[in-house]
């Protein structure tokens, strides 16, 4: 394999960083949302469900625009965060991570929710009769048993993040070294004459990255599955 150019390395590293942070940041929220949807009973649950799934069906540009309005330096949320904590999402890699997180959130929640619904609640009851409180039951029974679903959620959200384009470019633009992830770099190359060869290389890199993520997820899920066999 030919060596990667500095620009390609930059885009790849940025993609990985954006993907990693978007997953890490959305993991606790995703878990909470999955619990609410799988176990919760509250008015407006259907609406909540729809809201979480919205990024899956909306044009990404709409999500990007909404983020721009809400999280821009002068937006209601972005302005508050900047004034209070000095944190800004505007036109930097954190904004790219936020856009990715929002876009990958429904996939993450779906996978976790499905696995949580498969956790046998009778095992949780058994744990409680053995003297374990709710938190211990969650940490020692529920969480390990839904581990395959959590892993799938992480991989899906990560894969969604490294392929994210529309929301990112709308929200934080296409700034080399800051928000220019692999897909954005690829897009930039297609816009200039003679960029085809370089675009091909980036496309191949994207394919390799996506395949690697899928293979790792499949192997880990299988190992976990074997560990958890006999679930009945």
């Amino acid at each position: 394999m030919p060596e990667l150019s500095p620009l390609e390395i930059e885009a790849l590293r940025l993609s990985l960083r954006v993907g990693a942070w978007s997953v890490i940041a959305s993991l606790p929220l995703g878990l909470a949302a999955a619990f609410l949807l799988a176990r919760g009973r509250f008015p407006g649950k259907l609406l909540f469900d729809g809201l979480i799934h919205l990024p899956l069906v909306l044009p990404p540009v709409v999500v990007g625009f909404a983020l721009l309005v809400l999280f821009g330096r002068h937006g209601p949320v972005g302005g508050f965060l900047y004034d209070r904590f000095g944190v800004s999402f505007a036109f930097n890699w954190k904004g790219a991570a936020l856009a990715s997180a929002v876009m990958g959130f429904p996939l993450m929640v779906r996978a976790m929710r499905l696995s949580l619904e498969l956790v046998d609640r009778r095992l949780e009851q058994a744990a409680r009769t053995l003297g374990a409180g709710r938190l211990r039951v969650f940490l020692t029974i529920t969480l390990p048993l839904m581990a395959p679903g959590i892993l799938t959620g992480i991989i899906l959200a990560f894969a969604r993040s490294i392929s994210e384009f529309g929301a990112t470019i709308t929200f934080v633009s296409n700034i080399p070294g800051e928000t220019r992830t692999l897909p954005l770099a690829l897009y930039a190359l297609t816009q200039v004459p003679g960029g085809d060869a370089a675009a091909w290389r980036l496309a191949a890199l994207s394919v390799a990255l996506a395949m690697a993520a899928l293979v790792v997820s499949e192997l880990t899920a299988r190992r976990l599955g074997r560990r958890l066999q006999g679930l009945a």
Partner: protein, 377 residues
């Protein structure tokens, strides 16, 4: 003392259960499927919330709708052995066993439980690698090691085949004998009840039909539809009174006579409970001589009850004056007519030695366990 007085509506089914029982020995909840047995145990464990009522054990209130007390399951200190084991698939056997142990000073020793339940060779295995009987033994050990004040067992043998059942029963008897932990045992199988239970709580359609000793309730006619019609019979308390090594027989004494059964590897004086089904008892008006049946017992007719179809049930007293012992015989109406049987009449009850099979024997302490080992499991 176990005090239960609860009401619960489950769909179209209304459960209204009220009983008190001594918190000692094995208390059996007996009733047909759908009688509400599991719901009662779940309410005791705190997994199902009664609509109204009170549950207390040894004076501590676990639930009270009036006082707004509802202890969570983890604070009730009741061990629960579920019908389907419910072992944690992601823990080893050892991990399952120790899940509820720790923190508190263990009232039950890990090694002792492992030895008693024969789990030593299984400790590092996964639940998926265990047989049904092994799973249930681990489930029992896991419940015990959480140091419960009472053990709830919801049909722990129901999902097992006959050989596995025979494998588990002696362990349950050892629990009572060696750990002296009271057990609430749910079952719809009379054999298990006779073998294990001290106190019987009879359930029917969501209410308690009767509470009493096994001997008392199984011989009561009005409860016959609940204790089982074709299995109807009497339970007699006996003690081992002699052994006939040459012929491989043992003698069991009851007030007023003796029964001969297959050899029991038990010391003299061991209490043994014998269940004799009404259909295994024949009657004669004179003492038969040239007959193969070895158990011929003088009896007096107490009551004659028409059964379904051509049958009658004869309630006999085979005890001595002042110490009645009930026995039931089921014969045809025609036989009853032709023998001219009448209440107060003297007859001889005949039962084949072999009809006292192992499943109809229940002991106390290690009695039945010794018997099971003797018979080769």
């Amino acid at each position: 003392m176990i005090e239960v007085d609860v009401e619960k509506r489950l769909g179209g089914f209304a459960l209204s259960v009220r009983f008190t029982a001594p918190a000692a020995g094995i208390i059996a909840l007996f009733g047909r499927s759908g009688a509400g047995k599991t719901s009662i145990v779940n309410m005791l464990a705190g997994l199902l919330r009664p609509d109204r009522g009170r549950i207390a054990i040894d004076g501590e209130t676990l639930f009270s709708s009036v006082d707004r007390i509802d202890l969570p399951p983890e604070r009730r200190r009741l061990g629960y052995v579920f019908q389907e084991g419910r072992l944690f698939p992601h823990y080893s056997v050892r991990g399952n066993l120790t899940y509820g142990a720790g923190r508190r000073d263990p009232a039950v020793d890990f090694d002792a439980v492992v030895a008693m339940l024969g789990l030593g060779a299984l400790l590092e295995r996964r639940p998926s690698d265990l047989s049904g009987g092994e799973k249930q033994r681990v489930a029992i050990g896991r419940a015990l090691l959480a140091s419960p004040r009472l053990l709830l067992m919801d049909e722990p043998l129901a999902s097992l085949d006959a050989p596995r059942k025979a494998e588990i029963l002696p362990f349950i008897e050892r629990l009572r004998a060696e750990l002296r932990i009271p057990i609430i045992y749910v079952s719809h199988v009379m054999e298990e009840i006779v073998r294990l239970a001290d106190t019987l709580v009879l359930l029917s359609d969501g209410t308690v039909a009767a509470v009493g000793t096994v001997e008392e309730l199984t011989s009561r006619l009005d409860l016959r539809p609940l204790t089982g019609r074709s299995e109807a019979g009497a339970v007699i308390r006996t003690t081992v009174a002699g052994h006939d090594i040459a012929f491989g027989l043992s003698e069991l004494a009851f007030p007023g006579g003796r029964l001969r059964v297959s050899h029991l590897a038990l010391p003299l004086g061991t209490p043994v409970r014998v269940r004799i089904r009404a259909r295994d008892v024949a009657l004669a008006t004179t003492r038969p001589t040239d007959i193969s049946m070895r158990n011929v017992i003088a009896a007096r007719i107490v009551e004659i009850v028409a059964e379904r179809g051509p049958l009658v049930d004869i309630h006999l007293d085979i005890g001595r004056p002042g110490q009645p012992v009930a026995l039931w015989a089921r014969i045809t109406q025609r036989a009853a007519r032709e023998l001219d049987l009448a209440v107060g009449g003297e007859v001889f009850a005949l039962l084949k030695t072999v009809s006292l099979d192992r499943s109809s024997l229940g002991g106390h302490g290690s009695a039945a366990a010794a018997f099971a080992e003797d018979e080769g499991g």
